[in-house]
């Protein structure tokens, strides 16, 4: 173990000192996607930090998300039911995406394309449920971006802004997935190789990753 870390440290220095490429063997597109995701991390973190700040400074009551997002099932309100389902759907989509990457590298292009389409379908259903959630919140609970009957106005503002921005990312991801899936299916990457599936996958997993934080900080706080 100690040996492993010291060789890793050496590898770190060697890679940064190398000519041509710092990230050895990493295609340009993948390096660029990683750096983009880093930048996007800063965007979402700033949104979440702002949410934390307005929530912690609020002298008004913060509505209890566990009650607000409850759903009636068999006559009893189950807290966060829809959110739980959405979470599971997004995780599953990440699972199918990971398989698609694997299929791609094994040059099973039809399988890869199919799994990407399945991923996109999961994503689309996630957006659909989110639309339902928004509808319920606006129509039934009377939550608006500028106020709500339960407490601090920032509850609605943060909710719509953060889930909206995340939802846009998911929607863009669905389109991106479908385009790449189509091209994979047509055999466009037979020569160039299937890095593109992994790159698309990075974006998709990132969207899932952001949801992990939204789930913990917005719904469970």
């Amino acid at each position: 173990m100690a040996e492993a870390t010291s060789t890793q440290r050496l590898q770190l220095v060697e890679d940064w000192a190398a000519d041509v490429a710092v990230f050895r063997g990493v295609p340009w597109g993948k390096a660029m996607m990683w750096i983009f995701l880093l930048s996007d991390t800063f965007i979402f973190s700033c949104f979440l930090t702002s949410y934390m700040t307005v929530r912690m400074t609020s002298a008004e009551a913060w509505p209890n998300p566990s009650e607000v997002f409850a759903l009636e099932a068999f006559g009893v309100p189950v807290p966060l039911l829809l959110i739980a389902i959405m979470t599971f759907i997004l995780i599953s989509s990440s699972g199918t995406m990971a398989m698609a990457v694997n299929m791609g590298y094994r040059r099973k292009r039809v399988g890869a394309a199919l799994l990407m389409v399945v991923t996109a379908l999961f994503g689309a259903s996630f957006v659909g449920m989110q639309a339902f959630e928004w509808y319920k919140l606006i129509v039934e609970e009377g939550v608006r971006p500028w106020g709500n009957p339960m407490g601090a106005a920032q509850f609605g503002s943060c909710f719509f802004m953060i889930t909206g921005f995340h939802g846009l990312h998911v929607s863009a991801g669905v389109v991106y997935l479908l385009i790449v899936a189509y091209r994979v299916w047509r055999g466009r990457y037979e020569e160039k190789g299937y890095d593109i599936v992994e790159i698309t996958g990075l974006y998709w997993h990132f969207v899932d990753l952001v949801w992990v934080f939204i789930f913990a900080f917005f719904y469970l706080w």
């Binding site: 940064w16 000192a17 190398a18 000519d19 041509v20 490429a21 710092v22 990230f23 063997g25 990493v26 295609p27 340009w28 597109g29 390096a31 660029m32 750096i35 983009f36 880093l38 930048s39 996007d40 800063f42 965007i43 973190s45 700033c46 949104f47 702002s50 700040t53 307005v54 400074t57 609020s58 002298a59 008004e60 971006p145 500028w146 106020g147 601090a152 106005a153 920032q154 609605g156 503002s157 802004m161 921005f165």
Partner: protein, 584 residues
């Protein structure tokens, strides 16, 4: 290895050999064309900002003499001037312009890694400039909130441009950030992944190091501005209260409640301070190369210079609230941020020492780029020293929001980078066009600009000490305002107008030399870096012939004892040297 495999070289040349004017100059994916597009647009919009500053100076020097400048117009001038200078001129010119031009050439690449994205980046930047300029044509005109756009005042009645101007400003910023991200991802990926054989990071010219670190800062800091722009747009349009506390305006209670104006300030400066270094680091890098080349001497302490750039980049993320000492933030923060601010002065000072030590007993050629470089070092020292004053809470409190601050930031992030930009244009124009800029016009332009800026900004320190407040339309009959202030303000205005008009010399030089300039040949300055070793000048699309250059040495082999010339290009192997042998 990867280089050859990943560049479809012949393909790249074949696919877009230009047919029409549009394809050649507008839809070009050549990083050099995109660089010039960025450059021309940035300088164009920068001239607008220059004219605006002239109008402000007219008002300050000769109050009550100009009917068309009312307080509203003055605040609009101030805001547009500040924002354009910082973002649309300096950031765009240094990274979109010089970054685009130099990164592939100096790294020995054929182009950016994703030329198409690079092209779109410029188009989106162009749109953001159009939206910004549209501010002057919407009802109510541009916003007058100051370049910091602080809420609540930015979106309350009474601030000029509250109906439309603030929205065009915020949207334009968001669009600019999209453009920057597309370009920036390209620069970073190119530098990390597409350098030519032998060009290890520790052999890169400092220009590229500065541009690299600045771009990284941009990619990590602009998100905060983006997020605050989005939230302020929401506050303004649909009435959310992210930044807006319960507040009454014109005797009427507004619907806002519970938002945090301090949150905006924190987000803004979490972006804003790194932004200072986004402008400064490329200038640091470029000036190091100019000094070394025109003093025919290797840069002093190359490794220290690199690590200083990295350290400044890292530290710049933890100093932001030194802009907020008087904001009413947590009282303990002052201590934390003053400490970090003084720490960041250390690597900055190291850089200044190294420039000076490079010049020490060097064979200094007083070319125009060298003049501008020396002027930069002097100006940066002045601006940096006043920064130490302002970095300390107790000293800052009385100086905050006075002309001392105006003097400080113009010296350190206004004049200094502009001087480097001028020097850099004189230096690289021959590579871009194959012509030399006219030397005599250049000298004249330099002396007027350099002495002029001192005439403008030096007295402002004094104005600050006697208490003249920043962002005031007129000082009127304020008891604290000394007689001398009035006279000085007139002098400053005259100097500012002369400096402003003198820029015509520069523009004229650019145009005149393009047609009538002396032919420069491929390497007029006898410089070592790769861009001077291209087979053609200006380099064609694809930069190199069928083989990429190989790098054998660092960028600073000037006046090497025993060498046949006083410089050795990076791509030249020394006798008996093995390929890729490590730098001694």
């Amino acid at each position: 290895m990867a280089v050859e495999a990943q560049v479809p070289y012949q393909e790249a040349i074949d696919v877009h050999h230009p047919h029409s004017w549009l394809a050649r100059y507008w839809f070009s994916q050549d990083h050099k064309v995109i660089a010039i597009q960025y450059g021309i647009t940035a300088i164009g919009v920068g001239l607008v900002a220059l004219v605006l500053s002239g109008m402000m100076r007219l008002q300050l020097g000769f109050p009550d003499s100009f009917d068309f400048i009312d307080p509203e117009a003055y605040y609009q001038f101030i805001t547009m001037h500040g924002m354009i200078m910082v973002i649309y001129l300096l950031t765009a010119l240094l990274l979109g312009g010089f970054g685009n031009y130099l990164v592939p050439l100096m790294c020995g690449a054929r182009d950016m890694v994703f030329p198409f994205v690079n092209m779109i980046s410029y188009h989106v930047y162009f749109v953001s400039v159009l939206i910004l300029l549209a501010s002057y044509f919407v009802p109510g005109g541009p916003t007058g909130a100051g370049w910091t756009l602080y809420p609540p005042q930015a979106i309350l009645t009474g601030t000029p441009g509250v109906d439309w101007g603030i929205l065009t400003m915020l949207v334009s910023l968001a669009v600019f950030i999209v453009a920057f991200t597309m370009g920036g991802l390209n620069y970073v990926t190119t530098i990390l992944q597409a350098r030519t054989r032998g060009m290890s990071l520790m052999r890169m010219p400092l220009s590229i190091w500065g541009i690299f670190m600045a771009t990284v800062l941009g990619l990590l800091a602009f998100p905060a501005l983006f997020v605050s722009a989005v939230m302020m747009i929401l506050d303004k349009t649909i009435g959310t209260s992210f930044f807006m506390p319960a507040i009454s305006s014109l005797g009427e209670q507004l619907d806002y409640s519970g938002g945090s104006p301090l949150l905006f300030q924190h987000l803004f400066w979490f972006f804003g301070h790194p932004e200072v270094y986004i402008v400064a680091l490329p200038a640091f890098g470029i000036v190091s190369d100019l000094i070394s080349t025109h003093a025919r001497k290797n840069i002093f302490g190359y490794r220290m210079m690199v690590w200083a750039i990295v350290a400044i980049g890292v530290l710049s993320f933890i100093v932001w609230a030194h802009h907020m000492y008087v904001s009413g933030m947590h009282p303990y923060f002052g201590f934390f941020f003053a400490t970090t601010t003084l720490i960041i002065a250390v690597p900055t000072a190291i850089k200044v020492y190294n420039w000076t030590l490079t010049l020490l007993r060097a064979n200094i050629h007083m070319t125009v780029p060298m003049l501008f470089s020396i002027a930069f070092v002097i100006t940066f020292v002045v601006g940096g020293l006043t920064g130490l004053f302002l970095g300390n809470v107790i000293v800052d409190v009385p100086l905050s929001d006075t002309y001392f601050v105006v003097a400080h930031f113009h010296m350190v992030m206004g004049v200094s980078p502009i001087l480097v930009i001028f020097g850099a244009i004189y230096h690289w124009y021959p590579k871009m066009t194959g012509k030399m800029l006219d030397d005599r016009i250049g000298q004249l332009h330099f002396w007027i600009t350099f002495l002029g800026t001192y005439a403008i900004y030096y007295p402002m320190h004094y104005l600050g000490f006697v208490g003249v407040p920043r962002r005031y339309f007129a000082n009127g009959e304020m008891a604290i305002i000394d007689e001398s202030v009035i006279l000085l303000n007139q002098g400053i205005t005259i100097a500012a107008l002369i400096v402003g008009v003198a820029q015509i010399l520069f523009i004229w030089n650019l145009i005149y030399s393009y047609y009538r300039g002396r032919d420069s040949g491929p390497n007029p300055w006898k410089a070592t870096t790769l861009e001077w070793q291209t087979p053609e000048t200006p380099p064609r699309h694809g930069n190199w012939e069928s083989r990429l250059p190989t790098v054998y040495r660092w960028a600073y082999d000037y006046s090497v004892p025993g060498a046949k010339d006083d410089f050795i290009p990076q791509s030249e192997p020394s006798a008996g040297e093995r390929e890729g042998a490590p730098l001694a």
